[in-house]
């Protein structure tokens, strides 16, 4: 199957493999611990594991955009901030 029209690159392939691996891992987690572990965190409304992953990914996208706009093109430190942010989301949101 020719996927040349999708213009794949290694970095974008790694990016999507990571996203799909995260979603698959959440699926496995849900299979073994069903229910999504709902709880009310600092946002004052109920969130499940899926909500927390979504908030982590969406927030990370904006962190990277803000980093590009305000700091510079190297995103390694932004990635570290994103990971720290995701940990905080899964811990407190």
């Amino acid at each position: 199957m020719d996927l040349a029209w999708m213009a794949w690159t290694w970095p974008t392939a790694i990016f999507f493999v990571t996203i799909f691996t995260l979603i698959a891992a959440m699926g496995v987690w849900e299979w073994f611990r069903p229910g999504g572990a709902p709880r009310v965190g600092i946002l004052r409304f109920e969130t499940t594991r899926g909500d927390r992953l979504f908030v982590s990914l969406l927030g990370s996208a904006f962190i990277c955009l803000a980093w590009l706009g305000l700091v510079g093109p190297s995103l390694w430190w932004a990635l570290a901030v994103c990971l720290a942010y995701a940990v905080c989301v899964f811990r407190w949101v």
Partner: protein, 298 residues
């Protein structure tokens, strides 16, 4: 009692997932791939990294289009929501007037977007349009082709004409669901017209109003066809909203990398706003216990 979970139900979701994969996920992945590369056609791509995103974030053109988009959404919400409530309050609740009003209100919603644009494009023309020609004869210097303010007024009035009905119908549905006993109690207490609106009608309309605001905001934030048909984004760039700018960049200039980066940022803004609205609506449903559906959609 321990709730029983049966995850085999997820197997039924697989057909939908396959459909979404082909209709949304694969095109989105392609856009992401384009956003980090440059191309001159012929399926040849060159790595550009985050350059398009940096260009976009520093681009005055993008900032202006984004600002215009928020301004447009803010203006039409500020007009359509109060106007929709007022019209819904004025509509009859019984008798032959109800179906007549409902049909009249539904008419603008049934007209395709490009037809609405064409109607207003002709309607506003100074040479042959009823509105433009009448204003010209009254001595009003109106010309949406050359004056940015006139173009904005035309686009805003067109959107108000097209979509206020939606707010009206939603608010009307909220109003007719209020039991007569509430009004009887208000009359016994000697409540004023304003008090009836403030303490009975508005709280009862709260949920449908939220849905109306959500729908109008999202729709107006993604508006393309009507202003494109009427003004083409002009005069100059005065009515070039994000979607119009995006199409100009992708198709007009064939600047695919830049357009892909812009698409992704646009998508992220929409995604964030949708999530905020969805969360607010879901939690309002839970707090009020009215439960019209979205609360269980998680």
């Amino acid at each position: 009692m321990e709730r029983t979970w049966n995850n085999k139900g997820w197997l039924f979701v697989i057909p939908v997932l396959v459909l979404v994969l082909f209709s949304a996920a694969i095109p989105l992945m392609t856009v992401v791939n384009y956003s980090v590369q440059d191309t001159f056609g012929n399926n040849q791509f060159f790595w550009a990294g985050s350059a398009w995103f940096e260009d976009l974030l520093a681009s005055e053109r993008f900032h202006e289009a984004l600002w215009r988009q928020f301004l447009f959404s803010g203006i039409i919400l500020a007009i359509e929501v109060p106007l929709g409530i007022a019209v819904a309050l004025a509509m009859p609740r019984k008798g032959w007037g109800v179906p007549v009003c409902l049909v009249l209100m539904a008419l603008p919603l049934l007209i395709p977007w490009n037809v609405v644009g064409t109607i207003w494009q002709i309607f506003g023309r100074v040479d042959i349009g009823l509105l433009g020609h009448t204003l010209f004869n009254l001595g009003v210097d109106y010309n949406y082709v050359s004056d940015p303010l006139d173009a904005w007024i035309t686009v805003v009035v067109m959107d108000v004409w097209h979509w206020t009905s939606l707010v009206v119908l939603l608010c009307y549905a909220g109003l007719v669901s209020i039991p007569e006993a509430y009004y009887q109690a208000a009359r016994i207490d000697g409540a004023s017209r304003w008090a009836v609106f403030r303490y009975i009608q508005l709280p009862k309309m709260h949920r449908v109003l939220l849905i109306a605001i959500l729908l109008r905001f999202m729709d107006s934030f993604m508006i393309y066809t009507e202003p494109f048909v009427v003004t083409g984004g002009g005069p100059g760039n005065s009515t070039t909203f994000l979607s119009i700018d995006l199409v100009k960049m992708a198709i007009g200039q064939f600047d695919l990398g830049n357009a892909a980066a812009m698409s992704l940022v646009y998508f992220l803004i929409i995604l964030l706003l949708s999530w905020v609205f969805y969360t607010v609506m879901t939690n309002v449903g839970r707090e009020t216990g009215s439960g019209t559906g979205s609360g269980g959609g998680r």
